[in-house]
C-alpha cells in the first residue's frame, strides 16, 4: 500500500526567515508569491557565499575566482536545463527575467521571421510582457497581432484559436498559467496546432515554473521563458529556453562583451549559443542564487506540492465565495494556485490596504493584464496566490481580514 506524500509545511516554513518578520505588528501572511516569491535561507546563503568566497566576473579571467564563478555559472545552466527538461544546457539562456526573455524572442526570432502582413496570435489573458513585445514587433515589421479570445470561465477559446491560425501565422504567444486567473493553458495542443501551420509557440512560463513540473519537450513548445524570482530565487535573472536549431539560426539581440567570436572594425562574428545571447556581465550572484533555489525547489515532492497548493486554492475559493458581494474571476477546472476576486462596491486597492494592516499581503490592481480586465469589465482585482509555505490557517486570516474590510466599508 502506498500513500501519497504530503508536504511538510512546518519544515518548509522554517526555511523562510522573512516569515518571522512581523508586518504592522502581526505575523506576515504572504499571499503574493505570484508577484515575487520569498527566498529560502539556502538561496540567501548561496548569494552571500558567492560574494564572500567566489565573486568575480565570468568567462573573462584566468585567475582562480573567475574560474570558480564561471564554473558555478555554468553549473547553474546545467541545473536550469534539468529543471526545464531541456535537451541540453546549451538551449538555456540566462535572461534578466521573463520579460527580457520574451523580448529577446520577439527581437531576434521575430524580426527575422515576421514580414509584412504576417500574424502573431496572442491570447486575451496575457500579461503585458507577452503582449507589448509582439505589438512592437508587429509595428517594426508591418505584421498584425491578433487576439485569441478566452471563454467566460477564463480558458483559451480553442475553436477561436483554430479559426485564427493560418499560413500567415508566424508566432503564437501564450501563458502556461495565467497570472490573474490561474488558468492552465493546453500548451501541447496549442503548440501542435501552431506547428501545423508552420508557426512557433512561445510560452510565458512565469507563473507555471513555480507550480507545475516543467518539461519543455513534452509541452511541444518552441520557446519557454520564466523568472528566477518567482521560483524562490533572486530577481534580475530569468531563463529562456529555445529549441537548439531555432536558437542557432537566430541573430544576436544585444551586442557587447561576451557574445562575440571576433571583433574588427570591418566585421564582427558572433559567439555560439547561448553566449551569443548573453551580452555584458551577467547577474552572476543571481544565477548562483537561482541554482540554489532550483535545488531547494526540486527537492520538494512535486505531486505533494501541487496537491497542497491546489487544496489552498480550492479552500480559499470556497471561503471567499461565501462572502456576500464577492465574485471569483477564472472558473476553469484547470487552475494553478491563484484566486482573483472582486468585491462589489469596494475597490481592490482599498481591500488590499485593509488586509495589509492585518498583516495579509495580497496583490491589488490590474496585474499588468489590462486587456483581461477589460474582458471582465473590471478595473482591478484582488489576487491571493499560494505557494509551498502557505497554510489553511493563513487563508482563515485572510477571511478575518475580509470581515475587517466589510466593517470599514459597511
Amino acid at each position: 500500500m502506498t500513500t501519497a506524500a504530503t508536504l511538510d509545511v512546518t519544515r518548509i516554513r522554517a526555511d523562510f526567515p522573512i516569515l518571522g518578520q512581523p508586518v504592522h505588528g502581526r505575523p506576515l501572511v504572504y499571499l503574493d508569491s505570484a508577484a515575487s516569491a520569498q527566498k529560502p535561507q539556502a538561496v540567501i546563503d548561496a548569494v552571500a557565499r558567492h560574494y564572500r568566497t567566489s565573486n568575480a566576473n565570468v568567462h573573462r579571467g584566468v585567475h582562480l575566482l573567475s574560474q570558480e564563478a564561471s564554473a558555478a555559472y555554468e553549473a547553474a545552466r546545467v541545473a536550469a536545463a534539468r529543471f526545464l527538461g531541456a535537451a541540453e544546457p546549451g538551449e538555456v539562456i540566462f535572461a534578466h527575467g521573463t520579460t527580457s526573455g520574451l523580448n529577446l524572442v520577439a527581437r531576434s526570432y521575430g524580426d527575422t521571421h515576421v514580414r509584412q502582413g504576417d500574424h502573431i496570435l496572442v491570447s486575451e489573458l496575457e500579461h503585458h510582457s507577452n503582449i507589448v513585445p509582439w505589438q512592437q514587433l508587429a509595428i517594426r515589421k508591418g505584421g498584425r497581432v491578433l487576439k485569441i479570445p478566452i471563454t467566460d470561465a477564463g480558458e483559451i477559446d480553442l475553436d477561436a484559436y483554430r479559426g485564427l491560425l493560418s499560413e500567415r501565422t508566424r508566432i503564437v504567444a501564450v501563458s502556461h498559467v495565467s497570472n490573474v486567473l490561474g488558468t492552465i493553458a493546453p500548451i501541447q495542443e496549442m503548440a501542435d496546432l501552431a506547428h501545423d501551420v508552420g508557426a512557433v509557440l512561445v510560452v510565458d512560463g512565469a507563473q507555471s515554473a513555480p507550480h507545475l513540473p516543467i518539461d519543455v519537450q513534452a509541452l511541444h513548445c518552441d520557446f519557454f521563458a520564466c523568472s528566477g524570482h518567482k521560483v524562490y530565487g533572486p530577481t534580475g535573472v530569468g531563463l529562456l529556453w529555445g529549441r537548439k536549431a531555432l536558437l542557432d539560426a537566430m541573430p544576436p539581440y544585444e551586442g557587447g562583451g561576451g557574445m562575440i567570436d571576433l571583433v574588427t572594425f570591418e566585421k564582427t562574428t558572433y559567439a555560439q549559443v547561448p553566449a551569443r545571447f548573453e551580452a555584458g556581465t551577467p547577474p552572476v550572484e543571481a544565477v548562483v542564487g537561482l541554482a540554489a533555489a532550483l535545488d531547494w525547489f526540486t527537492a520538494l515532492d512535486s505531486a505533494a506540492l501541487q496537491a497542497h497548493e491546489h487544496d489552498l486554492m480550492v479552500y480559499a475559493t470556497g471561503r471567499l465565495s461565501e462572502l456576500p458581494g464577492v465574485t471569483i474571476l477564472g472558473r476553469s477546472p484547470r487552475k494553478a494556485s491563484v484566486v482573483s476576486f472582486v468585491v462589489d462596491g469596494i475597490h481592490a486597492h482599498d481591500v488590499g490596504t485593509v488586509l495589509d494592516t492585518e498583516g495579509v499581503a495580497i496583490r491589488a490592481g490590474h496585474h499588468c493584464a489590462q486587456p483581461l480586465m477589460t474582458r471582465y469589465g473590471v478595473s482591478a482585482t484582488c489576487r491571493a496566490s499560494f505557494c509551498a509555505f502557505n497554510t489553511r490557517d493563513e487563508v482563515d486570516t485572510l477571511m478575518g481580514g475580509m470581515r475587517r474590510v466589510r466593517e470599514v466599508f459597511g
Binding site: H349, T353, T357, G365, M373
Partner: protein, 144 residues
Amino acid sequence: MTSDLDELYQSVILDHNKSPRNFAALADATSHAEGRNPLCGDAYTVWLRMEGDRIADAAFQGVGCAISKASASLMTTAVKGKTAAEAEALFERFHEMLTGGATDLTGMPGGVKALSGVKAFPMRVKCATLSWHAMREALRSESK
C-alpha cells in the same frame, strides 16, 4: 495600526466614496484633463468651467479606489469659486499635507483635511493626488 486605518477611511471619505459630489461630465466645461495611474489603472477626467479667472464649476468622472474617488469629490467641491491661483495654492498645500512638510492645516477645507490620514500610507498618496494633478493640468491648459 487600526487607528491608522480609521484615520485613512474616515467617515467623510467613506461618504464621498459612496456618494461622490460633482460626479458627472460637465457639458459646458471650458477645459478638462485626464488623470491616470498606469500602475493601478485608476483613471479620472476632471472638467472645469472657468468664468474669467475663477472656477465657476468643477466636476469629475472615472473609476478608482475609495481614496482617489473621495479625493476627487472633495477636490471638485473645494475648488469651486476659487481663482486659478487659489486652486494652485490649495494643490500645493494638499500635496505637502500628504508628503511631509506642512502640519498647519488652518484654512484648509474641512473635508480635504480628512485626507491627511493618507500620509501614513505612502503607497496611496498617488491615489489621493491623482485628480488634483488633473485639475491643475486643466487649469494650465485653460490659461494657454
